[in-house]
């Protein structure tokens, strides 16, 4: 069972307390009703599903109940870092070579 650090509780807690909520940094368009079919498809259906580093949303559902973002490696399952919802995508990851 993974340990996940909740950036609001500032604690590592077991995976059971959390729920994954899909890819992060996908912004709902402000004028969503006016989106073209292609743009709506990109927004709603298309996901990166990378092998390697993924930016995704998690919720500390059985804890503080907050949504936050996490950087995880889909190959090793290791969490690189977590950060609060609304914070920008980190430019540099801890332990990255550059």
């Amino acid at each position: 069972m993974l340990l996940i650090r909740c950036p609001y509780c500032e604690e590592e807690r077991p995976e059971l307390e959390f729920r994954n909520a899909g890819e992060a940094h996908i912004v709902r368009p402000t004028n969503i009703a006016g989106e073209s079919d292609d743009d709506f498809e990109k927004f709603f259906f298309i996901r990166a599903n990378p092998k390697g580093v993924i930016y995704e949303r998690w919720r500390h559902i059985h804890g503080c109940a907050r949504f936050f973002n996490a950087v995880r490696d889909t190959v090793t399952d290791k969490f690189v870092m977590t950060y609060k919802a609304g914070e920008p995508k980190p430019a540099k990851l801890p332990g990255a070579s550059k």
Binding site: L3, R28, N31, E35, D37, F44, I61, T76, K78
Partner: protein, 997 residues
């Protein structure tokens, strides 16, 4: 009287403590501390099982967890018949009853052994070849036959009466394996004061010290030293010792699962003891001290009972005081078997000969054996074992060919070398590395905060092991935050040491032979099978494994994997590391379902939620149904009523008089804050800004894809406060959905969401007399139609307690939903019931609720919708805010497919024969005479007998349904085709006049 093979003075068990047991209905005497294996061997019993495929007679290979052959059924009573218990692990208790498996009619005469004669049919990959043709035979003949013939042991056919415990634990240093290395590491770590857990699969700690008679530590015999060290650790508050505990799974971030056998070794465990306990341990550092497992020699008929690992024979002698024969032969490719020969010889057992594949090995063990007068044959191979139910001879030949010589023996002790147990290391995602010099895989690259020590790390010799272990234990503790402790490193005075050996088939079982030289005993895989797999194109070791099933049995190839790999590599002409090792997966040894399930079964499998009125409903004869975790009153039968009679009476009474219904399970969420209306507008299709406080609206919630997600009546209590209801099953996910949007998409909105499902009990009072029932109990609320019209809400008091009184209806009748704090739910229900009795009202359950709402065409999300239904499909366009520019789903529901013509739409159905009630889920066609497969244009979503209508009614999703009003369609069923007419969805009071009736 002592059993024949128990040697007086040998071993560590107290001969005074006897225990009797039975095996295949024959009684034997053993002593406490025995395993079932040692006790049977003490009685001269070697034949204990039949093999999986060929039904060959089998005996004990090992004295430990790696045992592939000696699997038995332990029977305590009718419900406790545990199959596939390794007799080498099962501790003896007085009265133990065991049976052999996989044989009929008896162990000595097994009809299934015909498979051995027919073995050419069962060669590698036979599943994939023999049963290919004809195709139809697979389903009716081959599969049932194979299923009956395959499998080991017989499952108990009654519920497991035992209980299983579970514990979570945290520690700084977790030491897995309690041999010399593990004990030394635990000592070093414990000195620093950190929390240490030391686990070992055996009943007593000591590992291989139990048989290594030559080990001496701190001036004591190795095993005695181990017991002293364990006593010292036991006295320390920061140490937890877990004997009889197997670490079977190593997961991410040093999370290790272990299973403790709590009471399988006891005569009468009693109810207070669990059978097993699952430990889930999170450790800062893990020390792997899992040792090594001896390999057998691969030669013809090496599976005959009486042929076993040299270390096993030593364990039976040095620990249990049992000789495995009177005249033993030894076949080896390394030094360790010499130690076995020496120990047995000294105990008075005749050693017929040592056969050593090596040409001219030297060393103290060889000198000592020679000094004891044991015949040693270098450069020779055992090419065949004689005997069937028990080995009777070994045939020896120079390894490069030449004259054969047959030596009578009653046991053969063999050793091809030792395989480091890298299972847990590998499970931790560490990468193993092949050491060319010692020809073994050892831990290479680590993936987690763990360290391997001793034999599992390829460290030879007790001296080096203790050094390495003690340093590793101290380092792990220090890294995990321990303080420097005083060093008390154990001093090794004498040690046994061996390494090397051979991998693969021995001479006499080479590529030019067709003999049965077993690599994997449990799955009956021979050297020939592995070669054949390679010849047939399996070039990856993973393919070889699956094709031959080598290493796929319950022993997970503990003795066979390296031999199989070496034979595959030789046949491929590739070096071993290029062929690679198969993946080690959890569990290390078989784990019962019971220990994994733990307490989570029966009533404790899932929480049971009961409403405030549950005791009243139970006392009034309600039949309950499960709705998610809730127990809901289904119907309230009176004496002599079946379900249909009860439901018919309830439905009629509600429309004629009134009914009381517990609606407490509906999800309830309070949406509060200055932006509450704005938030509601974004989450629901409906407009909310202009809804006056005190009024209600039926809300529809979509997902972003435009499909209906949930629905419910929402009351506006104040400009900044909404009381939202959801479906019973949807409550948690609606809350999650709302929180998601509030926190991540609309964080600028000043809104709070609070789940209030369990805070409010909800009593629906529905029917023409509903107001008269409620009014006498209400204070502070004007109940007139003018002051409290349909779809409105007021706060006040009922029976003196606070209420949120909703005027709303899910029946189409004048109706109310009385919300009161849950603690008062039952009392208020009783008061309303007493009032209702004056008018002849009924209590009704979920079944009547379903019928009554269907009579009015009110949908149930999740029954009449399935996650692909838009508001338009469901005929709910009227609920959408036409002028809104944004809400979740507004763009999704405009997608071309969702606005296309011909989509399935919700309609009513009336059967032409009013007595016929359709089946929910039944498919609908236009032309019942068309060829099969017919074109299905829809399906029935809800269907009931309506006593109020005097006929059956149904709702259905039908393609282009609203344009088909009056059309006749057909529902083909196994018993015949049913004619139906498409109608509107409202079957009772189409004008809605009864809402104020």
């Amino acid at each position: 009287m002592n059993p024949a093979f128990r040697i007086p003075g040998a071993g560590r068990l107290s001969q005074a403590k006897t225990a009797s047991f039975s095996f295949d209905d024959k009684s034997y005497a053993g002593i406490e501390g025995d395993t079932l294996a040692s006790a049977l061997l003490a009685n001269g019993v070697h034949l204990v099982g039949r093999s999986f495929k060929y039904h060959r007679p089998r005996g004990f290979l090992s004295a430990g967890a790696e045992e592939p052959n000696a699997l038995v059924q332990i029977v305590r009573d009718d419900a406790r018949k545990t199959p596939n218990v390794r007799a080498t692990v099962q501790e003896l208790y007085d009265g133990l009853t065991a049976h052999s498996q996989n044989r009929w009619p008896s162990l000595a005469f097994d009809v299934g052994a015909v498979n051995d004669l027919a073995s050419p049919m069962f060669s590698a990959g036979f599943y994939y070849k023999t049963f290919m043709w004809p195709k139809s035979a697979w389903k009716n003949l081959y599969e049932p036959k194979i299923r009956a013939a395959a499998g080991l042991g017989v499952s108990p056919d009654r519920p497991d009466p035992d209980h299983y415990a579970a514990r979570y634990a945290h520690c700084e240093v977790l030491v897995l394996g309690g041999g010399a290395a593990g004990i030394a590491a635990a000592l070093a770590a414990a000195e620093t004061g950190v929390r240490v857990i030391l686990a070992d699969e055996q009943a007593e700690f000591g590992g291989s010290l139990r048989f290594e008679s030559g080990a001496k530590i701190d001036g004591e015999n190795g095993f005695a030293w181990a017991q002293g060290a364990i006593a010292k650790l036991k006295a320390m508050d920061n140490v937890r010792l877990l004997p009889r505990t197997t670490a079977f799974g190593y997961y991410a971030q040093n999370f290790v699962s272990l299973v403790e056998r709590v009471s399988d070794h006891l005569k009468s465990p009693g109810r207070e003891l669990a059978r097993e306990r699952l430990w889930q341990v999170r450790a800062r550092r893990v020390v792997l001290a899992t040792g090594a497992i001896e390999r057998h020699m691969v030669f013809a008929d090496n599976d005959r009972p009486g042929i076993m690992l040299a270390s096993a024979a030593r364990t039976y002698l040095n620990h249990y005081g049992v000789a495995v024969g009177r005249n033993v032969g030894v076949y080896t490719a390394n030094d360790s078997a010499y130690a076995a020969a020496i120990d047995l010889k000294k105990a008075g057992v005749n050693v017929a000969a040592i056969v050593d594949l090596r040409d001219n090995p030297t060393g103290p063990a060889i000198d000592e054996a020679r000094g004891l007068g044991i015949e040693i044959n270098f450069g020779r191979a055992v090419i065949r074992a004689g005997g069937k139910l028990r080995v009777s001879s070994m045939t020896v030949q120079p390894k490069n060919g030449g004259g054969e010589r047959t030596i009578p023996v009653d046991a053969i002790l063999m050793s091809a070398g030792w395989t480091p147990s890298v299972h847990l290391f590998s499970q931790s995602r560490g990468k193993v590395a092949f050491n060319e010099e010692t020809r073994r895989f050892v831990p290479g690259t680590y993936a987690q905060d763990c360290v391997s020590i001793g034999a599992c790390n390829g460290t030879d010799g007790l001296d080096a092991t203790i050094d390495e272990a003690y340093a590793a234990g101290a380092k792990a503790a220090k890294e995990a935050g321990g303080k420097a402790g005083k060093s008390a490193k154990p001093k090794v005075d004498a040690s046994e040491s061996w390494s090397r050996g051979m991998l693969g088939a021995a001479p006499g079982a080479g590529p030019d032979t067709t003999v049965k030289a077993f690599v994997d005993f449990q799955n009956d895989v021979t050297a020939k099978d592995i070669r054949q797999a390679v010849h047939e194109g399996m070039h990856s070791i993973e393919h070889v494994k699956r094709f031959t099933t080598n290493g796929m049995a319950t022993d997970q190839g503990k003795t066979s994997n390296m031999h199989g790999l070496a034979i595959a590599a030789e046949t491929l002409g590739k070096p071993i590391p290029q062929v690679g090792l198969t993946t080690f997966r959890a569990p290390y040894t078989p784990v019962t379902f019971g220990s994994i399930v733990g307490h989570a079964r029966g009533a404790l499998f899932d929480p049971t939620r009961r409403t405030a009125t549950h005791p009243w409903a139970a006392a009034h004869g309600a039949v309950f149904e499960d709705v998610g975790q809730w127990k809901r009153a289904w119907y309230f039968p009176r004496a002599g009523e079946d379900m249909h009679a009860a439901v018919n009476r309830e439905c009629v009474t509600v429309r004629k008089v009134a009914g009381l219904f517990d609606a407490s399970t509906l999800g309830k969420i309070e949406v509060v804050g200055p932006d509450a209306a704005k938030f509601m507008g974004l989450l629901y299709t409906n407009p909310w800004e202009k809804l006056e406080p005190g009024r209600c609206r039926y809300g529809i919630m979509l997902r972003e894809d435009g499909f209906i997600y949930d629905d419910g009546v929402v009351g506006r209590l104040a400009p900044d406060r909404f009381h939202v209801t959801t479906t019973t099953g949807g409550a948690p996910r609606v809350m999650h959905h709302m929180e998601d949007y509030l926190q991540t998409e609309f964080p600028h909105l000043n809104v709070w969401l609070t789940s209030i499902t369990e805070q409010w009990a909800v009593i629906a009072v529905q029917g023409p007399k509903s107001r008269e029932i409620i009014a006498p109990l209400v204070e502070g609320i004007d109940m007139s139609d003018e002051a409290l019209p349909h779809m409105s809400v007021r706060e006040g008091k009922i029976c003196g307690v606070p209420t949120r009184l909703f005027r709303m209806s899910f029946t189409g009748e004048r109706g109310f939903e009385v919300n009161v704090p849950a603690d008062y739910g039952e009392a208020v229900w009783e008061a309303l019931w007493a009032e209702g009795q004056k008018h002849g009202a009924t209590a009704y359950g979920t079944e009547s609720m379903h019928v009554l709402r269907a009579e009015k065409g009110y949908i149930i999300v999740g029954q009449d919708t399935d996650g692909t239904v838009t508001p338009n499909d469901a005929g709910l366009d009227w609920a959408g805010g036409k002028k809104k520019t944004d809400f979740v789903g507004i763009r999704g529901m405009a997608r071309s497919d969702l606005v296309a013509k011909g989509r399935k739409q919700l309609v009513g159905l009336k059967t032409k024969d009013p007595k016929v009630v359709l089946e929910e889920g039944a498919q609908i066609v236009e032309d019942p005479k068309q060829a099969i497969p017919m074109k299905m244009i829809g399906h029935v979503t809800s269907s009931y007998w309506s006593e109020n209508c005097g006929r059956s009614i149904a709702l259905a999703m039908v393609a282009g349904g609203r344009d088909r009003m009056g059309q006749t369609l057909y529902v083909p069923m196994p018993s015949g085709t049913i004619e139906v007419e498409v109608t509107g969805m409202v079957f009772v009071d189409e004008k809605g006049e009864r809402l104020n009736g």
